[in-house]
């Protein structure tokens, strides 16, 4: 049977091992997609991905001839007991100028809480040009029971912003990081969070 091997044919054992190795390799490839996807998003601004660490190399030549409407959107993740809003609905900015906007969040529980804001920029073609120098989204925010906090974001819209973009939406989603930080039973059933 297997003795009647044709020239150049691989033995059954070695072929089986190679195919198993292929399967293991594809399992690893599934995980390799994670950093690949991250790199892809960072480069292209895909999905409105914007910087989550302070931007370097920011130009400071202000282009007064161009006005960009900036809009703020705030969202609280479904199960997070927060109130979260922007102080202003929006503002008008010039490319190259440095600006500051303030956001306010309140912990509605009587417990100590840690929150994380996740930013996103639309349209995604603008994401790479919206550069945050400082942001409350760069790190976790701690809240005492019932505490209200005013938090800043400082940013520059660089003048390489594509010509056709005249409005940028900056959106923040506020997450309770309990799921990520404690190991209490809350984790397994986010739907049954006690308030």
């Amino acid at each position: 049977m297997s003795d009647s091997r044709k020239p150049g044919e691989v033995s059954t054992k070695s072929l089986t091992m190679r195919l198993f190795a292929l399967a293991v390799g594809m399992f690893a490839f599934g995980f390799a997609l994670v950093p690949l996807y991250d790199a892809f998003c960072e480069v292209t601004g895909f999905g409105g991905r914007t910087n989550t660490e302070a931007a370097a190399d920011v130009q400071t030549v202000t282009d007064k001839s161009r006005e960009i409407a900036l809009e703020f959107v705030t969202t609280v993740n479904q199960y997070a007991p927060w109130e979260f809003r922007a102080e202003l609905d929006g503002m008008t900015v010039h490319p190259g100028g440095m600006y500051e906007a303030w956001f306010v969040a309140t912990n509605l529980t009587d417990r100590h809480k840690i929150a994380q804001a996740v930013p996103s920029v639309a349209p995604q073609q603008a994401a790479a040009h919206f550069k945050k120098l400082d942001c409350f989204c760069f790190s976790n925010q701690e809240f005492m029971p019932g505490e209200e906090k005013r938090m800043p974001v400082r940013f520059v819209v660089d003048s390489d912003l594509p010509e056709y973009v005249d409005t940028i939406t900056l959106s923040y989603t506020f997450f309770d990081t309990a799921r990520l930080t404690d190991s209490s039973t809350e984790m397994a059933h986010p739907g049954h969070e006690t308030r």
Partner: protein, 542 residues
């Protein structure tokens, strides 16, 4: 070396190979014989077909009228999710693996599969996997209800069933990968001496390609669900935005598996139909080699079209264009196959036995599903169709009168070889016609309600969709009952052993090595490899 079937028995002298199978439960639990394992796969998938089908009937009963009738929405969602998981991983895939086990060794002149003990494992893992999955129905929080696509963050809200869902998917993956490795090693190493790759029958070819797809993508699915598991229990944030992850990334990884998966379910069906249409047209398969290249092209393209499932996630325009055109490109090799089947029938001396009827039904209705697929591929239009009943209509047309009809055709075509008896032809034809009428009554109206805006995966709907939904529900119940005829035919033929005795050839001069062994096929076939030149001709030899 014997060249005929008659020599098969005479020369079996290896340490008592001519004994029959062992008696009792040991034959099945310790099975290493490809025919026994094939039978177990086929029986298992038939049971799962009825199990998953009964869930479909729960869904259609609830949707018979607007408003909530029978089940609460949470259970409804469990039904849609479990129906899909069971039909995809429990019915369609194992059925094709069962056919592969039974037929591939007999079609390439091999005595058995290359790795018989691993074969035993790949089958017996399946009942365990589906035992685990089914047990979630009675767990606190119920069965998984997030859809078979398991998108986070929704899937992370599954109750106690969550880790069981993940582990059952792991087990199904392991089973499929081992089965696929076995198929590849068998095909590459155990062909009869003169059977070159391009002389292989189409069913063997399509399975070779399918097996490579399985090895390439099942591990990726395993990786994706492992990430879900660690996100839920071990504090990782692959898909949790709060920790820097991205839920859309799950969709990319899932569909990188998911799109090749749909070809895993249809390529062996193409193979089956490519065997049956030539037999009942009494002509060789038109364009055998172009069929091989078409199937390979489809397999390659399946890796670069995944994001057409995600047009509404907000992709850059260039991304949408790429995935739209790459998807439409698949219509070219698929068209090659459809036209080759038509050309095979052209001026053939056709007869319409049950396997041929199911193959023709496949050809016609799979093409309808292909066309609605092209409509869905149009990125700007997809935004309207996305997650509507139009999508449900599309994938059921390619899966039910597509894959399932091809499976039915295969069972009718090869059952006389397996059992040595013909099935009841009149009942077979009745089964075909009832199935065809009801499958269209079920799924065709879904195109209309989908285009009119009815979303999928909901237990209630606007009253304007009531009439078409009532039609679909009647069709579904009719289709479900028609399958009982199939179960009865199989029972009569395989268990009761009723029916006319089949000859060695079974049909009128069919091509292929499986028709050179007696009917029913003996427990051991081709202990010595057959000669394929001269005596036996192949579909494309003319």
């Amino acid at each position: 070396m014997s060249s005929t079937a008659a020599g098969v028995h005479a020369e079996s002298h290896h340490h008592g190979d001519d004994h029959g199978p062992v008696k009792g439960w040991r034959r099945w639990v310790y099975a290493t014989n490809h025919k026994d394992i094939g039978t177990m796969y086929l029986v298992f998938s038939l049971v799962m077909f009825f199990f998953g089908g009964s869930m479909a009937l729960v869904i259609r009963s609830e949707l018979f009228q607007p408003g909530l009738q029978f089940v609460d929405p949470a259970f409804f969602n469990q039904m849609t999710t479990m129906h899909a998981l069971i039909m995809v991983f429990g019915a369609v895939m194992p059925a094709f693996v069962g056919l592969a086990n039974w037929m591939i060794p007999m079609m390439i002149g091999a005595p058995d599969m290359a790795l018989p003990r691993m074969n035993n494992w790949s089958f017996w893992i399946l009942p365990v996997a589906f035992g685990i999955l089914s047990s979630t129905l009675i767990m606190p929080g119920g069965a998984p209800a997030s859809g078979w696509t398991m998108y986070p963050p929704l899937v992370l809200q599954t109750g106690d069933a969550f880790p069981f869902l993940i582990f059952s998917v792991h087990l199904m993956g392991i089973s499929s990968i081992m089965g696929a490795i076995n198929v590849i090693v068998t095909i590459l190493n155990m062909r009869a001496p003169d059977m070159t790759l391009l002389k292989m029958p189409m069913f063997v070819w399509t399975w070779l390609i399918t097996a490579y797809l399985l090895i390439a993508v099942m591990p990726v699915l395993a990786g994706a669900v492992t990430m879900l598991l660690t996100d839920q229990f071990f504090g990782t944030s692959f898909f949790l935005a709060a920790g820097g992850g991205d839920p859309v990334m799950f969709q990319h990884i899932f569909w990188f598996f998911g799109h090749p998966e749909v070809y895993i379910m249809i390529l062996p069906a193409f193979g089956v139909v490519s065997e049956i249409i030539p037999t009942f047209s009494r002509k060789p398969l038109f364009g055998h080699d172009s069929m091989v290249y078409a199937a390979s092209s489809i397999a390659f393209l399946s890796f670069i079209v995944w994001a057409h499932h995600m047009f509404t996630t907000g992709m850059p325009l260039t991304g949408q264009m790429f995935f739209m055109f790459a998807t439409m490109l698949i219509a070219v090799p698929t068209g090659v196959k459809v036209f080759n089947w038509l050309a095979t029938m052209w001026r053939g001396a056709m007869t319409f036995e049950t396997p041929m009827l199911f193959s023709l039904g496949f050809l016609f209705m799979f093409t309808i599903g292909g066309f609605s697929g092209l409509m869905l591929a149009i990125a700007p239009a997809d935004i309207q169709y996305h997650d509507s009943y139009f999508v449900v209509a599309h994938f059921h047309y390619v899966l039910v009168p597509g894959s399932i009809f091809a499976l039915m055709a295969a069972v009718y075509y090869w059952m006389p070889k397996w059992t040595g008896r013909y099935y009841n032809e009149s009942l077979g034809k009745l089964h075909f016609w009832l199935s065809t009428i009801f499958v269209n009554l079920t799924f065709f109206p879904m195109h209309f309600v989908g285009l009119a805006g009815m979303p999928r995966r909901i237990p209630d709907y606007s009253t304007q969709f009531a009439d078409f939904n009532a039609m679909a529900s009647v069709g579904a119940i009719g289709f479900g009952l028609s399958q009982l005829i199939f179960a009865w035919i199989v029972f009569q033929c395989c268990v009761q052993r009723k029916g006319e005795k089949a000859s060695q050839e079974v049909w009128e001069s069919p091509k292929g090595l499986e028709w050179t062994v007696p009917s029913p096929a003996p427990h051991h076939t081709f202990d010595t490899p057959p000669r394929v030149t001269g005596g036996v001709s192949f579909p494309h030899d003319g």
